[in-house]
Symmetry: D2
């Protein structure tokens, strides 16, 4: 019997980290054939070249889709999505997948959702049903309404997808595959590599043996003009703290350049000797880095999700993760340098929180592969009310 062809479209480095164990489980499943499409910023050097990690992890790439239109404005995000539809529809025509999988809620994932649903290919959405309170939320719930299956990461998310009118036999709480990786890491948590040597980057290389913090802050799309101001508050707080800092550059987004420019300008002006800047890091190494850190600063979803399971303290800044379900490892602060500084100091002087399984127990990848193998192939649905 021929295998069911599962086409997964990865459009960004964080999406790859989030889906990696599911990809492996699909690849290993006797009834499934993985068709991996790498697109958008996942292909680009200045957003961390997820494609290199994918290849190194032993996945074969079925198609590459270059669709990122350069431009420092929101129009470019719309056009990138339009080009994505043009390109992905050709890819789906060639690969003829039985199902298409799209991940989370970045703006360009809409291209995957539209191409697949318009071509009557059953569409699976990973990590719908969550709430945050920015543009991503429009995209996320719109994709839910285009998708035929929903593999969500938490009980709250499942309830929300059902309320959106999806049929109960199409919604499954698998937990988040990123927790699978976190589980692996927790089994051997020691920092078993030298971050400077393995990942290069720029800036000083402070000694990490007495503790360090990690920073990862992305621009927030709907507050485009403010992204530089936001990053400055964080930079100011970090500048006053003497503990070593490992800082990760933001992903692509309209506004990315406000954030990036702020960081570059700070570096030129203050030449800080306690901060090292990385472009990116392979997923497990990054988690291991977090497990051994004092805390994570910024607005990355890693703080909400993997850090809950890992028990890593987080200073969560601003609105980007608003309303997401969370464990007790989060201190929420506004874009305010003194609040940020105070929260960091709290975690430096208090014990780590307990771990939480709110985002899954570490077997999401296998659950997803099994569901993909067994679910009926259908692309016709109606609202339940």
């Amino acid at each position: 019997m021929s295998k069911r062809k599962i086409c997964v479209v990865v459009t960004a480095r964080p999406s790859y980290s989030r889906i990696k164990t599911a990809l492996q489980a699909i690849k290993d499943h006797p009834k499934l054939e993985l068709q991996l499409v790498v697109a958008a910023s996942a292909l680009l050097d200045r957003y961390g070249s997820a494609v290199n990690y994918i290849v190194n992890d032993g996945f074969e790439i079925s198609a590459k889709v270059f669709n990122v239109l350069e431009g420092e404005n929101l129009t470019a995000a719309a056009k990138t999505t339009g080009i994505g539809i043009l390109e992905l529809s050709t890819v789906f025509d060639n690969l003829k997948p039985d199902m298409v999988v799209t991940i989370a809620d970045r703006f360009e994932t809409m291209a995957t959702a539209i191409a697949a649903s318009y071509m009557n290919i059953p569409l699976v959405h990973i990590q719908g049903g969550e709430v945050t309170g920015n543009i991503d939320e429009k995209v996320r719930h719109a994709i839910t309404k285009l998708a035929d299956y929903h593999f969500v990461a938490s009980e709250g998310a499942k309830q929300r997808v059902l309320k959106l009118g999806e049929e109960s036999e199409s919604v499954f709480n698998t937990g988040c595959p990123s927790i699978d990786l976190a589980k692996n890491v927790l089994e051997k948590p020691e920092l078993n590599f030298d971050p400077y040597q393995k990942y290069g980057g720029v800036g000083s290389s402070p000694d990490l043996s007495n503790g360090y913090i990690v920073v990862m802050q992305h621009p927030v799309t709907t507050e485009y003009a403010d992204s530089r101001k936001h990053i400055n508050e964080t930079l100011q707080a970090i500048n006053t703290i003497s503990i070593p800092v490992l800082w990760f550059w933001p992903n692509v987004d309209a506004g990315a350049d406000g954030t990036s420019t702020g960081i570059r300008s700070f570096r030129e002006k203050f030449k800080p000797n306690h901060i090292h800047f990385f472009k990116n890091m392979e997923g497990e190494d990054f988690l291991r880095l977090l497990v051994n850190s004092k805390c994570l600063i910024g607005n990355s979803s890693v703080g909400i999700r993997e850090c809950a399971y890992l028990g890593v303290p987080v200073v969560n800044i601003g609105t980007r993760q608003n309303k997401r379900e969370r464990g007790n490892n989060i201190l929420d602060v506004e874009y305010d340098s003194s609040a940020i500084e105070k929260a960091i100091l709290h975690w430096l002087h208090n014990p780590k929180p307990n771990l939480s399984t709110v985002y899954g127990g570490g077997d999401a990848g296998v659950q997803i592969a099994n569901l993909l193998a067994e679910s009926p192939l259908r692309f016709h649905k109606t609202i339940t009310y």
Copy 2:
């Protein structure tokens, strides 16, 4: 004070009919400036050139967007949407509207919704919240999740949009603007023009003075391969009926050519002398034609909507209008020639049904214009649960 700029994107002839009174009310409103964009099949000769009616009705067109990619397959629908995003984002960049309005649920309306929402322009969706049970339903509810305001056409639709998690202050049951036209027509219902002379078309020109029926049947996207078979059932039923028939060609859709080919082949083979074929007709003329007909056959939403208010009997074929709220003017039948014939005979020998205001009372256009003038300009929302 400068007027609020309202950009309405019309992509098909039926959408124009449905929004016309709102366009007029926007144009007439002292606080609003209308920016009318005509796109997709609304510009094309073989789908009825809505653009000509628009110009004749005295509206000024701010931009035309050609984005229909030819091709007899579903991929073309996806690519048409992708091209639509590329083009409309440029249009919005140029026109700088304060709000964008998109109508109903054709596949290409998603391009309007994505371009506007990604560019942080408040998006208004007309006629969300309805149910039918085909691909249109995915598009319709996805647009609801992208839109900031919802002007719906019935109480059922309003309840459904609220259940989808939209805030109650963003949802308004204005009724459908197409009922505004129906109300005008009911005030002077006489057939005051000669359809053959005014609209040309092909085929015989049977005498209409002793009654006639009207046919309008569109292909159903998700049943692409079957569209020719479906139309054949209708053609066979019509062929056995001797009363004059006025037949309207279908709109563009993947599958349109199955329907069109069926009709052409029927004409060549049977050379029927009781049928006349029209490409299209100006909205009010069409409603007047319906009021004076014995019944409407097919799957057009006009049967569900305007005909409810007009009290025109309808034989509704197949799944296209499944689950829509309806008055008591509807007889539902399957794709089956004898069932279709039987239902037609029913209406030929029974009294007309009473009119119903399920889709509004005839002031939707004015309500919509007032709401556009007074609603806060916002593009940031969150789900209510």
Copy 3:
């Protein structure tokens, strides 16, 4: 040793007729692998579905590219070309051809030329160097400047390509592959099929046994507004002639609808009983039809090219074939009904002209395949002066 991969992009029915024997020779060549891409109007029903003939002739299609943007204006031609580049670059990325072949001078062939040359794939141009005097000429010579090899159809064309600064080792006069088909047909010239039965079409079916004429007239792009007027002159001339007429619909082009509308309107008005209309015809059948006809009317290049070799008289209307090399089978006339009528009468009452090898001796396909197999793979060139 692996075979050299030759990617041929066919974008229209006439291009296919013109390249068919070369495709066969490439397919049969021991050192070559044929990658056949079918694009643009060659895929579309209303332009004769060349794709069906291609499949029936036993060719395997490597990729289909839908890039025709609907719209009754010149802008659509530009956008169709832009979309073609987007799509074809993906196709070339997937197929990784060693050489790309583009045919003649239709506007959308520029997409093939740009995608290949920008991607550093050696580009072969079939039938450059000719002159006509309309927009096609800009495209044709621009492609010459992008191409690495030139397989031209006549000695005059070869001299012109050399004057354009191309290196002499890159220019070869192979003759036109369409003449290869003509040669086959001349070996068994009898009309061995019933055109009405085999190709359907619409209109009357006059008896052909006492002679008939053939009409094929395309709109001329740079005279867009005039295309309806032009076709009317021809229609008027044909209307006055009583001999049976076999009329072929025009190809897609900006302006096509002017021509088509003219023909449709004429049919409705005059209901002519000596004319039959075909959408298209398989190449060899069409040539056999011409060999047995009294003459060909219109502006098709078939008149200039195949008819020279076949000795078929031609009434060539207007500017489309201006300046092309020609045999003595051509009478040139302007867009003028009486001139057209007079020229037709001339050919009906005078003997047929001798055949001419100005466009080749019937072995172009084999010559082209051999050149593709043996020419160095290079994509870097400079002008010779």
Copy 4:
């Protein structure tokens, strides 16, 4: 009488420098209205934001076109051109220019040429007819064949355009507008600004008062894989020279990142204290910097063109400027660090060359504006042989 609308499309910083005085002359001409479209890398921060200089120089921008598709491969160049056609055809539809002007030979200028010529808008090409011997040559001569008017920069270029079969009344040797700027600069040649202070940049800030050299080296498209190797030879030569160096980053091109990565890696490794890196510089300031330098190193066309008129010595590396007409200010060397070093030392120890008017006498801008005002509006041409 209404003014003739001249639409000039600028796609890159160097193109702007090259056309600036013509833009001013068009703006000032009583019979002309300037429509300035800024597109492609001219809009992007990391390629020098030509758009900022354009605004600062007082030009009003009629439309911005974002069409650069990110991707480190040649496919992205093809797709950028395809998107350019889609966008520019909309722009021309809106602006309705009487003539369109495209500049030189960058790959994306083909988008301007195709959109304008397919839409029957008279196309003017600035700086056709030159020779270099790389991909640019295909683009340049192909645009000549699409263009209706040719305003060339040298007598050799004029002769070449005529040989390409263009009519003599369409070809004018105006000289290069960049020489107009050079003429202005020569009238007041003193270095009247502090480059570090005015333009920022990174790296050391060596004292310039005892002489300095300038470096500007672009990747060569058809030698993509080698771009990093090429830049390394230059970096090695520069590293052995102790005189201050002002280095300018390359423009966007497939391969740009090979060059950029080489430079970044060199900086990290050698931390050179005699080199300052600039992203870009306003045209006149850059020329003034050159006039006061010891010599220019690299492969910029500024070396061939403006430096001829300015009498600035040049070490021209590699094939990019192959075969261009040149004054006696050029020393040509291969990609070889010792040859580069030797050539630099030659110029450091020998007198400056005399100036040359091979690329014009400094009134090109005014000549171009006058020709645009007086030339017949035509878009129909034929080859002269």
